[in-house]
Symmetry: C2
Subunit: 284 residues, 2 copies
């Protein structure tokens, strides 16, 4: 595996490989790798001739009061983990490389980026979409691999790719979980031991919501109330949102009649965690 | 020359040609071709293996009170003109092909898109940048050819390409002019015979401004006053703006110390025309 630091060097290598007809797959990350990231890399390596992983902690997607400064960074370990699964190129650009000047041009993501996590984190999805577009333009992959854990990010990026005719396929990989069901996240290391134990309630609550739908409940409001109750009873958490939405458009669903996504964002102490579950609805 | 109507058909043809190592040049247009367009096509044909010209009257860049409905359209003549200079593909997508659904994602162009023409035409440059990015993603050319006539459009697109790392070079071609100096524009056909005669003042005023700078005038304000006076004396025009700006950033220049652009927008009756001149400043 080669660690590459500049756009120019990466483009040079990839232009050559592309001219040889190699397929290029891409996994964008902010580093601090866990099994979730590694599962994306494995799948990308399996499905493409060349796998590019980017590691860039993107300031544009952090709010002024968020955790940019303390976001976990461990390049040495990340290099080992990516290398172990046969990633070809780990692209680790500097801030200067990605933002040589303050941007004038941004991707504006519309309504889908302004609800839920977008409402709690103003500008977050504009920052995500803008950097992902920049990285797509640098790497020019055939396929981009994204994790379902960040469901709204997936929806925003898919919509951007559709709206802007970006020539790339999207593969969504399932959320990797700890043995007790907690969704893997680079932010889990912020949790105190008590918070870590409490955080299991997220997955438990989502599974309960899915079960209610499976057993015939179609009233979104009722399901949301029960999920909130379970979360607040079983932990010291404060709820940012619990919502049931359409899978691609993220429009809120009151009466469930087709497949939906239950999405939640909850704070344990100062740590904000998100999780979601796709619920298939049969007999439509 | 092949006339192509769908993204899919165009992408298919170009993917094949790209795999053969052919270079692809691209000229985006709104049709109603004149010598300005044709000069871009000629240069593109000369410098690339394959020339793609798009012809799409983009509603997104017209304001609600602008001339979208009456914008000149003459596909038959346009096909003949493009064919005559050996364009390979004339891409003429339908509205449905470019906007299958109302967009959620847009390109937000920042300050450079909100001044001058952007102030007079709110949303115009967002519409331009968004459709140009979509077309770039469909065509994936090595080079895009733009006309200097639309100087602010050039600046907005160059900035977008820089900010978003779009893998394309930009070639700017000089403004084509009628024998009497009027910049060629598809909108010139709107002019009444009197307005057409009056419109010559635009180029005259710009040349006077350039001469003042060449003779040592460095006070932007004084030059602008003289240009405005000349335009208002010699015609029935109403001035939208006359400004002296930096060439790439379009920041207004009060004291001229390096190369500048004099840009003007003037209305003759209901027809709004723009023109500009680049003025080199020696002995910096």
């Amino acid at each position: 595996m080669k660690v590459i630091k500049t756009n120019k060097a990466l483009r040079g290598k990839l232009a050559f490989l592309r001219s040889q007809g190699k397929s290029i797959g891409f996994v964008p990350t902010m580093g601090a790798f866990h099994e979730g990231h590694v599962s994306l890399m494995r799948r990308c390596v399996k499905e493409n001739d060349i796998t590019v992983v980017s590691l860039f902690v993107n300031p544009l997607q952090f709010g002024p009061r968020e955790d940019l400064a303390r976001y976990p960074r461990n390049l040495k370990r990340d290099i080992e983990m990516a290398s172990a699964v046969n990633v070809d190129f780990l692209f680790v650009p500097s801030l200067q490389e990605i933002y040589p000047e303050p941007l004038s041009t941004f991707v504006q993501v519309g309504k889908i980026g302004n609800i839920l996590c977008g409402a709690s984190r103003p500008g977050h999805f504009q920052g995500v979409a803008t950097v992902v577009l920049k990285l797509l333009n640098i790497v020019q992959p055939c396929v981009i691999y994204l994790g379902q854990k960040d469901a709204q990010q997936v929806a925003v990026i898919k919509r951007m790719i559709f709206d802007l005719n970006i020539p790339v396929s999207v593969v969504i990989c399932p959320t990797s979980r700890e043995a007790d069901g907690l969704a893997m996240s680079s932010r889990n290391i912020y949790l105190s031991p008590t918070e870590r134990r409490d955080a299991v309630v997220l997955n438990k609550a989502l599974r309960m919501g899915a079960r209610l739908i499976a057993f015939g409940e179609r009233d979104g409001g009722k399901i949301i109330s029960k999920i909130k109750k379970l979360i607040l009873e079983g932990s010291s958490a404060s709820i940012d949102y619990v919502s049931i939405v359409e899978i691609s458009g993220f429009a809120p669903v009151r009466r469930i009649s087709k497949d939906v996504l239950i999405v939640i964002a909850v704070k344990f102490g100062t740590t904000r965690l998100i999780d979601n579950v796709i619920v298939k609805v049969h007999g439509k």
